[in-house]
């Protein structure tokens, strides 16, 4: 049977992560599964975990009374869901809902923050990985905002 450490090591977020840090992460990790339509978190609630998606598709949504549910983006295998756990007040800014049956590794936020405070090298390593992901998402958001298709013919 595949161990949690093995599953974690295969995720792109943990690629080339020092074994020592991998072991620290495993101590905060659990396998989770979400059914289609199931909410993973809701806007305004406490961000107690983040997720390394292994399989499936998860939508980040926002609800507007005038427009209903609007999907901001979808995330799939190999991607990371959630960074609100990193910054006070540790509250989700969007809803996350499984579009398909989805498998993920959930990492406990309090557990990980405590370990990062105790070992700044681990904290720096994780922050570098999150910063890279945030930079990619920012890049995508900028392109999305440019609305490039509007006048293209």
């Amino acid at each position: 049977m595949e161990t949690l450490e093995g599953i974690l090591a295969e995720h792109p977020f943990a690629k080339d992560l020092d074994k020592r840090y991998l072991a620290l992460l495993v101590g905060c990790a659990a396998n989770v599964r979400f059914d289609p339509g199931q909410f993973i978190f809701r806007e305004g609630k406490e961000a107690k975990q983040f997720y390394l998606i292994r399989h499936g598709k998860i939508a980040l949504e926002v609800f507007a009374a005038s427009a209903g549910e609007i999907t901001i983006m979808t995330l799939g295998a190999g991607e990371v869901l959630g960074w609100s756990w990193l910054f006070p007040p540790y509250q989700w800014k969007f809803d996350a809902r499984a579009v398909e049956t989805s498998l993920a590794i959930a990492l406990d936020a309090q557990c990980l923050r405590t370990k990062c405070e105790a070992d700044h090298d681990l904290g720096y390593e994780l922050l570098k990985r999150f910063a890279f992901m945030v930079e990619q998402r920012l890049d995508s958001t900028r392109l999305q905002l440019l609305n490039a298709y509007e006048f293209h013919a």
Partner: protein, 284 residues
Amino acid sequence: MPEIPVAAAPPHPMIPAPFCVQRVHREAPDTVTLELKPAKGGAAIAFAPGQFNMIYVFGVGEVPMSITGNPAQTDILVHTIRSVGAVSGALGKLKRGDIVGIRGPFGSNWPLEEAGGKDIVLVAGGIGLAPLRPVLYHILSNRAKYGDVFLLYGGRTPHDLLYKKELQRWRSQSSFQVEVTVDRAPASWHGTVGVVTTLVRKVALNPRRVVAVICGPEIMMRFTVREIERRGIARSQIYIFMERNMKCAVGFCGRCQFGPNFICKEGPVFRADRILPLLAIREL
């Protein structure tokens, strides 16, 4: 096995030949695909994927339009048109039996010869799928000639996606990987939401044996090239599709001049390392 179509040149580049509308298919609220046949026993047009025609709506004006049909099927000429101006708007209102003038084909073609034996990733944004569709037809007719093929297609919303039935068919055939995303979607859309560059991160590209062809709005192509380069793929392996206002389509008038290039003649398909540096010069 069909030969790789070579870029063709029209016998009379400045004289429009009459073509008759055979079929109009509405792809999206503002986009139609027209199937045309030569009127009065005129000659059919052979083309290479990537080439374009000048379409003349009599009494309105003339616009360049990519040829979007199957290069192996020369008896019918196919154009997909999004209505954004006076001429394209008029094209969008044509009915079966209407006559338009066609000059062409013009311009350079996608690098199908160079891509032989290699993997190909096609990245299309919005109406940019139209000039790439002939490449897909050619690949499907010559599947053994190419390695892994990926079609990454991004649209504004689910309603704006082109060729929906064909996308489904290409997906189910699974002789190549098809990934589709939209920038914005209601919750009823069960597909992927995000810009097309996010798809580049999701496919397994081998930098040593892949050719990338990109077509879409210029800003989308610039972002996409950057994302592809992040995957270790050299600019010399990337081709983009340039657009500028064109008039004569044969390099006489200079209307589409872009630095040392005439887009109508040296383009519209360019190798990225030869054209991208010019895109950074605002004065051009």
